[in-house]
């Protein structure tokens, strides 16, 4: 199976052909995938070199000039390094862009912590008005990319699409907005975010819990969580492929009207200082099916 990142350049290259407003801005990373698109659209595939502040600023300028910029590099360099540009050049200027990251929390464990960004969504969460897509499968990534680039009447929405090497076996019918109900039960609600779904389904096999699937986490689908807790218990477990607790506040806000408990599972804050393979990092953060089952059953009453 190809990865979400494999899907990115072909899908966006197609959008460059279809929509003259679309422009791609790169900072070296990912440029090989756009070689053919660069030949066809030399003015709309822009590689600024290894300059991430300029990457975001140029994206904002393109938006101010009426274009729909798709801005791409690894999550560390897209969200964390030029964070003030994300905050001011897009948010404060009141213009939109589609930020598409790769490498996620630890897609390249041998590359070490410099290329890991488990905090990207939490950092972005300090800003207002961002839509955050966390696809769990390459097909979902394609759907959500199309949704993001074409979003809104004026196409000026601020959207973050987090592509990962982690993936579920099968794609779900995502719509860029709502959580999906994958399983129904009575003893609590487990929200699986993006590529965590397969592990969550394995971990909750035979448990009497509702499983919601979230491939779009901002805005947080509060209505879906409230509906789920109406029929199941108000114990909620969030399982996220990024920093543990990233969506805990959103879940708490959704359940303000009822007594409830929320357990936020995800990547630990402490730097692991390990290389190795993706699966080894998943296990180290307690996000494999066996660890999840233990932590979920330990939490539910």
């Amino acid at each position: 199976m190809d990865t979400m990142r494999d899907r990115f350049a072909p899908v966006v290259s197609g959008m460059l052909d279809e929509d003259p407003r679309v422009a791609v801005v790169l900072a070296e990373i990912g440029r090989d995938g756009f070689m053919e698109a660069t030949r066809r659209h030399p003015d709309r595939v822009i590689n600024v070199g290894i300059r991430e502040q300029l990457l975001i600023g140029a994206g904002a300028g393109l938006a101010l000039a009426g274009m729909r910029p798709v801005v791409h590099t690894f999550a560390s360099f897209l969200v964390e390094r030029p964070f003030e540009q994300v905050k001011l050049d897009l948010g404060h200027q009141d213009v939109g862009a589609v930020l598409v990251s790769a490498a996620a929390s630890y897609d390249w464990p041998a590359g070490g912590f410099t290329h890991m960004a488990p905090g990207d969504v939490a950092v972005l969460d300090t800003l207002d008005g961002w839509t955050v897509h966390v696809p769990g499968h390459p097909d979902e990534a394609e759907t959500l990319l199309r949704h993001a680039v074409g979003a809104g009447e004026g196409k000026d929405d601020k959207v973050y699409v987090r592509l990962s090497a982690q993936s579920n076996e099968q794609a779900r019918a995502v719509d860029g907005q709502r959580f999906l109900t994958v399983r129904e039960g009575r003893r609590g609600v487990v929200v699986a975010v993006g590529p965590m779904l397969d592990a969550v389904l394995a971990a909750t096999e035979g448990l009497d819990v509702t499983v919601l699937y979230a491939s779009t986490v901002r805005p947080f689908d509060s209505a879906a969580l409230r509906r789920a807790t109406d029929s199941a218990d108000t114990d909620v477990v969030l399982v996220e492929p990024f920093l543990a607790g990233t969506s805990t506040a959103a879940a708490n806000d959704a359940l303000l009207h009822v007594p409830h408990r929320v357990l936020g599972l995800g990547v630990g804050r402490r730097e692991l200082r390990r290389y190795g393979q993706l699966g080894e990092h998943v296990a180290a953060h307690g996000l494999d099916a066996a660890s999840l089952r233990e932590r979920i059953t330990g939490f539910l009453r």
Partner: protein, 229 residues
């Protein structure tokens, strides 16, 4: 809305904001450059803020924006009546400008080092749409040039041949560590067309602003009296 104000009335307009007709260097260092641009160079006017063919002026140096507001008021972009409210809760005019609140302001600024990268993107966007006429101007300060984001933009814009991009650097010697070889040289090695002029000489500024620079972005370094003199 009156548009009968000239350059000699600008101190009076600035006095409406500060309560005095004497102003700090941060406010007046840009005054002549702004006036020459808005009076004789930029193809902008009130009511054309959505016209895609307009020139773009991006005030990156958002500190001390009184001269900017005075020029915008003199040219009819915003009512003179707004000026006395400068910085108050109900005023759209802050100590740093906000594009969402100030008619005619292309960007909100205050945090240094953002305007030039955004201007690069604007020039790229206009080029991608086949709009070859609009010029993009960005005004920065010499100390603002310390920000690395500007150097990313300078290094990129030259080789990219963004010939509709123009930068004005107001040099009031406020950088703690001056650029070795001078400001213009930093742009020239990156492939820009560069000229340094007296930032108080309107004819010299106009000539420098309108000089041809085929295939290259253009920087005009406008020297004014040192900030701490």
């Amino acid at each position: 809305m009156t548009t009968t104000y000239g350059f000699t009335e600008l101190p009076e307009l600035m006095g409406l904001m500060t309560g005095a007709e004497k102003h700090g260097p941060a406010a007046t260092s840009t005054l002549d450059v702004l006036w020459v641009l808005y009076d004789r160079v930029l193809r902008v006017e009130p009511g054309r803020s959505e016209d895609p063919e307009r020139d773009r002026f991006l005030l990156s140096k958002g500190h001390g924006p009184m001269a900017y507001y005075a020029v915008l008021a003199a040219k009819g972009f915003l009512p003179v009546e707004w000026l006395p409210g400068f910085g108050s809760y109900d005023s759209p005019l802050g100590h740093h400008p906000d594009r969402v609140l100030v008619p005619g302001a292309e960007i909100g600024s205050g945090s240094l080092g953002h305007g030039l990268p955004i201007a690069v993107g604007t020039a790229l966007g206009l080029r991608a749409q086949g709009r070859v006429d609009p010029a993009v101007w960005v005004l920065i300060g010499d100390a603002e040039l310390d920000e690395g984001s500007n150097h990313e933009a300078i290094a990129y814009a030259g080789p990219a041949g963004l010939d509709r991009l123009h930068t004005v650097v107001i040099d009031n010697s406020s950088a703690s560590h001056a650029l070795p070889g001078g400001i213009a040289a930093r742009f020239e090695v990156a492939g820009w067309s560069a000229e340094t002029v007296d930032g108080r000489d309107h004819e010299a500024l106009h000539a420098a602003f309108t000089a041809p620079h085929p295939g290259r972005p253009r920087v005009v370094v406008a020297r004014v009296e040192p900030k701490n003199a």
